[in-house]
């Protein structure tokens, strides 16, 4: 097989990354030894967990994490009621100095901050700059205990506040790139991102966890996580939120035009690649690392490199936004596309799941024939694709173009 040399390096806000994979602001970046371990393993950079000024009290509660399982799968999603770091800027600035000294330009050291007022934000920025930070990320989207103008609300849920705080930060940061981490929990995310842009930020981090209620213990009626008999809403992360993140990234890439670092639901290199195809330049990981360890960086790099070799794409840059032209408004989709379902009986195991789906959720186009063999009536089939999603076998059901007109119900 022919292969081409591949370079995983990428530039983001003028900063060079060895590969597009970064540790996001979260527990895996909240301890110096852990950070060193992760960066040594090959993560291109880390965003140190969100810090604040010394006088800001951070009182955590435990337990703070609850996993979302689906059937036998653990951590399909993960909820947390963590807050920003307990460690304040005095410690974080020291960590940055140590890491910069140890890793130099080989790794990107970013730090996340959050403040209550202008002086705090600008003070944090100045101290990070003095410590030699490469990028400053601002958490405008912590779902818990935010310090925005309205208690409990996220900063990025207010468009004017978003623009104003961004401006405060950028004016203090000057040449140091500023990234604003926004939330998908808004009515008009494009407007928020435009406010970020107007405020002068260099990039957007899209998007954080989704406020959620993680489930209830039906014996005692107390939802998870149970903190001495009470709970609060969690931030949902992990695979479950990936589709939301993809939507946000692609929408912002198409409209706002600021570089994006993606976060929310990436586990493997394919997820990360999808983020990039939607327009993200780099991809951040948290839940996947918390679940499987820093080791996964090896598979992220190797997997993406092998893919690029086989595709004949030598630069990561050439992947960014490659899927955007294929995403349009609903009105712009073809009304003439006529496809019908075709079942490969050699692969079919006669489970009848397609039959169920089509009978009770589709158009009654599938019948079970001899020996429970599913048969599609092409005229009745609308080509909705439900059977394909339900079928347990890969590539067993295919949607193919059809000439046959479809029968419309008369009663």
């Amino acid at each position: 097989m022919k292969t081409i040399p591949v370079n995983l390096g990428i530039e983001f806000c003028g900063v060079k990354f060895n590969n597009p994979f970064i540790l996001s602001a979260a527990p895996p970046t909240d301890d110096l030894d852990m950070l060193k371990r992760g960066l040594e393993m090959g993560w291109a950079g880390a965003v140190l967990k969100t810090t604040s000024v010394e006088k800001n009290k951070v009182e955590l509660v435990y337990p703070m994490i609850s996993g979302l399982s689906f059937e036998n799968k653990k951590v399909v999603g993960m909820g947390n009621i963590d807050l920003i770091s307990e460690h304040h800027i005095d410690l974080v600035e020291k960590r940055i100095e140590v890491l910069k000294k140890e890793f130099g330009d080989e790794r990107v050291i970013a730090a996340s901050i959050m403040g209550a007022k202008k002086e705090d934000w600008q003070h944090l920025v100045k101290r990070l700059k003095a410590a030699g930070v490469d990028i400053i990320e601002c958490s405008f989207s912590c779902p818990q205990g935010s310090m925005g103008e309205v208690p409990g609300a996220m900063l990025a849920q207010s468009i004017p506040a978003t623009e104003m705080v961004t401006r405060w930060v950028k004016s203090a940061a000057k040449k140091t790139p500023v990234v604003i981490k926004i939330t998908p929990m808004v009515a008009d995310i494009v407007a928020v991102a435009n406010a970020v842009k107007k405020g002068g930020a260099d990039a957007i981090c899209a998007s954080n966890t989704i406020p959620s209620l993680m489930g209830i213990d039906i014996e005692n009626f107390i939802p998870n996580p149970n903190v001495a008999g009470k709970t609060t809403y969690s931030g949902l992360s992990g695979p479950a939120i990936k589709p939301i993140t993809l939507k946000v990234i692609s929408e912002l890439s198409k409209t706002v035009g600021l570089p994006i670092t993606g976060t929310g639901g990436a586990v493997n290199w394919i997820d990360a690649l999808e983020f990039m195809l939607c327009g993200a330049t780099t991809v951040q990981f948290c839940t996947a690392v918390m679940h499987y360890g820093y080791d996964i960086i090896e598979d992220l790099c190797e997997g993406l490199a092998f893919y690029m070799e086989e595709k004949g794409i030598s630069r990561v840059k050439d992947l960014i936004g490659k899927s955007l032209p294929y995403i349009v408004g609903h009105d712009d989709l073809s009304r003439k596309n006529r496809v019908t379902s075709h079942i490969d009986l050699k692969k079919c195991v006669r489970c009848g799941l397609c039959y169920y789906a089509c009978q009770d959720g589709g158009h009654q186009a599938i019948e079970l024939g001899r020996e429970r063999r599913p048969e599609v009536d092409e005229e009745k089939c609308f080509g909705c694709g439900l059977c394909q999603s339900a079928c347990p076998i890969d590539d067993c059901i295919e949607l193919k173009e059809s000439e046959k007109p479809r029968k419309i119900a008369t009663v």
Partner: protein
């Protein structure tokens, strides 16, 4: 409807011929199995693998859609990834301590390994680049798994490696011992082709009788991986009758004649003496060649037999009669041909020691079977011809080569040995593991000499 995606053929189908018993996973099956793996922190599976394959890492790579990374990971530790995936007694090795056993059933590690190797060989990905050519010649005697592993490792390091093999085809017992329903020869040859692509030369039909000549031909180091090509005999009365064979000659006959036999003849009723994997293979081959009843007789009890539990189960499923804790007394014949077998029940003198000298016959338990064919499968021994030609090399017992642990150095400088000829008969993966270590030692030796 036939079971299209299950990976093991049903016994009735298996017995019809030499089709491979276990089929390779489909992608979704591999993914499903990989996603059952817990990816344990201190993975006990890796500790159970003689070659030290990082099992958790390769399974994680399958799960994280990095198949090429997975095969790289396995091949770095075991160049015969696909072959070992098919023949490793995993229940006794990596799978033994799998943490998943406490949840439901252990991960089918071997099947996953087989799957990644298969995907790779189908796509014919080229081996990773050789290091700078060293122009130093190394000779390998024997192309079994030990020789192949040494050769692949040294070729990767840039040495000029030539394997000398007495037989017509390379592979050792992989090619001439393990029958096709467990290991098709195409699978062996594919992986050998892969090793040739790294730059290893293989000269078949070249039996080395004298290692001094190799040194004279400018080979700077020699590796001996000649295995145990001889068959041990019990020394029973009637052993020389027509219709009495050793398992090795029988299996070689079946394999070289693609599921038929020329030198050996399997009758309707067969008795196989022995309780190891070789006995299981002989019994399952006899069934496939049309024997109506195959009795396996062995000294050990069912749980004491040295064969892998999986192989034992496979034979049992196919209908081999397994007679445990019996000792052969004699082979009965008439007009020079085998007509029967006579044995007796035994108990152990000392518990836990399963060797003939520890067996006490139980009076009154004598029994006889009417048989047409007797196959002896009680162990392999060195080829005495070989040993004589290897001057200056210390041996033990019937000609096992004595080599240092870890470095596999023999008593003669520049000569190394590993595999069955040193460990007295183990597994393919053990031969690979020892071959890997020997290759490191040879590299160190040659570097020091320069």
């Amino acid at each position: 409807m036939s079971n299209k995606t299950a990976t093991t053929l049903l016994p009735e189908e298996r017995k019809k011929g030499f089709r491979e018993i276990h089929r390779c996973y489909e992608p979704h099956q591999a993914y499903l199995e990989a996603s059952r793996c817990l990816m344990c922190e201190d993975a006990p599976c890796t500790k159970g693998c003689p070659a030290g394959v990082d099992i958790k890492a390769f399974i994680r790579k399958i799960r994280f859609h990095n198949l090429r990374g997975a095969i790289r990971e396995i091949r770095e530790a075991n160049v015969l990834a696909g072959i070992c995936g098919k023949v490793c007694p995993q229940e006794l090795l990596c799978q033994k301590e799998c943490s998943n056993t406490e949840i439901d059933i252990p991960i089918n590690i071997a099947a996953l390994q087989r799957y990644v190797a298969d995907v790779e060989l189908r796509r014919s990905v080229s081996p990773s680049a050789r290091q700078f050519a060293q122009r130093i010649k190394v000779a390998i005697i024997g192309s079994g798994p030990a020789g192949l592993a040494v050769a692949a490792n040294l070729a990767q390091k840039g040495y000029e490696v030539t394997i000398f093999e007495a037989e017509a085809k390379p592979g050792g017992l992989l090619t001439y011992g393990i029958p096709p329903h467990r290991l098709p020869s195409s699978a062996v040859q594919k992986e050998i082709r892969y090793i040739k692509r790294i730059g290893v030369k293989i000269r078949c039909k070249t039996k080395i009788m004298n290692i001094d000549e190799l040194f004279k031909k400018d080979f700077k180091a020699i590796f001996i991986g000649v295995g145990l090509p001889g068959a041990r005999k019990i020394g029973l009365p009637g052993e020389n009758l027509k219709g009495v064979y050793t398992a090795l000659e029988f299996l070689k006959d079946v394999i070289t004649n693609k599921g038929r036999t020329k030198q050996t003849k399997i009758g309707k009723r067969v008795v196989v003496i022995g309780g190891g994997d070789v006995a299981m293979d002989a019994a399952s081959c006899a069934l496939r060649l049309g024997a109506q009843r195959v009795d396996l007789v062995c000294l050990e009890g069912y749980d004491e037999m040295p064969s892998s539990p999986e192989e034992r189960r496979i034979c049992w499923e196919e209908g081999v009669e397994i007679n445990t804790r019996v000792m052969p007394l004699k082979i009965i014949g008439s007009k020079g041909r085998v007509t029967g077998y006579k044995g007796i029940g035994i108990r152990w003198r000392k518990p836990g020691l399963f060797i003939p000298s520890n067996a006490i016959p139980i009076p009154g338990t004598e029994f006889s079977l009417k048989v047409d064919t007797v196959i002896e499968a009680i162990g392999q021994i060195p080829d005495t011809g070989n040993v004589k030609g290897f001057k200056g090399i210390e041996t033990a017992g019937p000609g096992y080569i004595v080599a240092k642990k870890k470095t596999f150095k023999t008593s003669r400088p520049g000569v190394f040995a590993a595999g069955d000829i040193v460990n007295r008969g183990a597994t393919a993966v053990q031969a690979v593991a020892d071959g890997n270590a020997a290759a490191e030692a040879i590299d160190a030796y040659l570097k020091r000499k320069r």
